[in-house]
């Protein structure tokens, strides 16, 4: 497995996002979709697609470069305090892929522009589509990492990001130190916000003894977890 950083320019057409995907992202998984919304989503998709500058990449650390403890991961001399839950999920990994993905800054700029013009609805829909594209890009890079792992007969874990499962957001700085400076055009603010905002970063474990699991927020008691709150809200909507 190569240890060289790999960066891809991802054509928007490789990421299939439908009107229905965005309706679900806006909350309408079960609830009736307002009549006006599909047309607004289609219009926003048309607006956002030419603005996408999608880049994603990863770097794999393997063998002696990687060591795991009960709550931390070391890649060479750099230690990530990933917490016990993620560490247990990464157990049996023989390699770690550190990844980042972004859709560029323009969709965010367009969303702000629309809102400043007083078009909150348009701005919000563009923002939601941007988030959906960022997540789809992370999915795309995970699929690529999975393919690389598969070539050597290995499997991969889920992807894990700072901010989830007791892994503090501030560790973004440590995570990005494992990637070349300005990787995929992403920079960090002092408070660990990725710029462009519509970016995703994280790690994926690789090895013959690891597996991809259903994401189980129930095993974590982190009160400040955004993902958990969103998942609970989603569950609440369903039931």
């Amino acid at each position: 497995m190569t240890n060289e950083p790999l960066i891809y320019t991802v054509p928007a057409a490789s990421l299939t996002l439908t009107t229905r995907d965005i309706e679900i992202a806006l909350g309408y998984s079960d609830a009736a979709v307002p009549e006006y919304l599909p047309e607004m989503i289609d219009e926003a998709l048309t607006v956002i697609q030419p603005l996408l500058d999608i880049r994603a990449g990863f770097r794999i650390y393997s063998g002696d470069d990687v060591s795991l403890s009960s709550d931390a991961l070391s890649c060479r001399q750099t230690q990530l305090h990933i917490g016990r839950i993620i560490a247990s999920r990464l157990r049996h990994s023989t390699s770690i892929a550190v990844f980042a993905a972004t859709i560029g800054a323009q969709p965010e700029t367009e969303s702000h522009r629309l809102m400043e013009e007083g078009n909150m609805m348009g701005g919000f829909i563009v923002d939601t589509i941007g988030s959906a594209y960022a997540e789809a890009t992370a999915e795309w890079i995970e699929t690529n990492i999975s393919a690389v792992a598969g070539l050597e007969g290995a499997a991969n874990t889920n992807r894990y990001s700072p901010g989830y499962c007791d892994w503090l957001v501030k560790e973004q700085h440590v995570l990005f130190s494992l990637l070349p400076k300005g990787f995929c055009g992403i920079s960090l603010t002092q408070s660990a916000v990725m710029l462009p905002i519509k970016s995703v970063s994280g790690i994926i474990g690789i090895g013959s003894g690891v597996k991809h699991e259903q994401y189980q927020c129930s095993v974590c008691d982190m009160q400040a977890c955004i993902r958990k709150k969103l998942t609970d809200a989603h569950t609440h909507t369903h039931h």
Binding site: P34, Y36, M40, K170, Q223, A224, K229
Partner: protein
Amino acid sequence: MATTELLASLATCVERGKVNAKSPFPPDLKGQDGADEITVRVLAEGATPQEVLTQALMVGMNRVGEKFRDKNIFVPDLLMAARAMSASMVHLKPFFNSAEVRLRGTIVLGTVSGDLHDIGKKLVGMILEGAGWSIVDLGTDVPTQKFIDAVKEHPDCIVGMSALLTTTMASMEESVLQLKREFPATKVLVGGAPLTHEFAARIGADFYSPDPQGAVEYLNTISPMS
């Protein structure tokens, strides 16, 4: 149609997001007058601007806030309701500088230093505006001094702070601490996805709610409106 019926219709227009007669949404109200036309009519029938605000717009927006809290509607529905309310408010704005429209007070809103998230705060602002508050939005990445300056400019205001990252919760703590040191009587509300009641209590904030309607209900107790 009597004034009370028109006010009730206007509340429904806000609740359902019926902006004006041209708007084809919602389909069951297609072709009917919306918030725009009904506001003109009800004012012409003799309703006071204050009655329009308190007996129609705030009633409609309160229903919207409750449905949003209960996850029966989502952000687009909320934004459509806000559009309908804005269409009505256009006709009330001329009365704002006279004593004919009394708002509950002023709320200064801002996303704390280091945090660039804007949309959640804007949505809260819309719901609070619909509850009869004047909103001063300081934007994102707001340093503590800017909150303090805003309180000096609006001495009886309430302050609302937002943070969406665990890394910027520390900024929020610092801002609340300094603001309370200088203005102990100023009420400070906090919100944002990673926050908890425990965190809000620890940093000395007066109130935290996971949803905007909770803030509306808390603020109603501070500043009831007849």
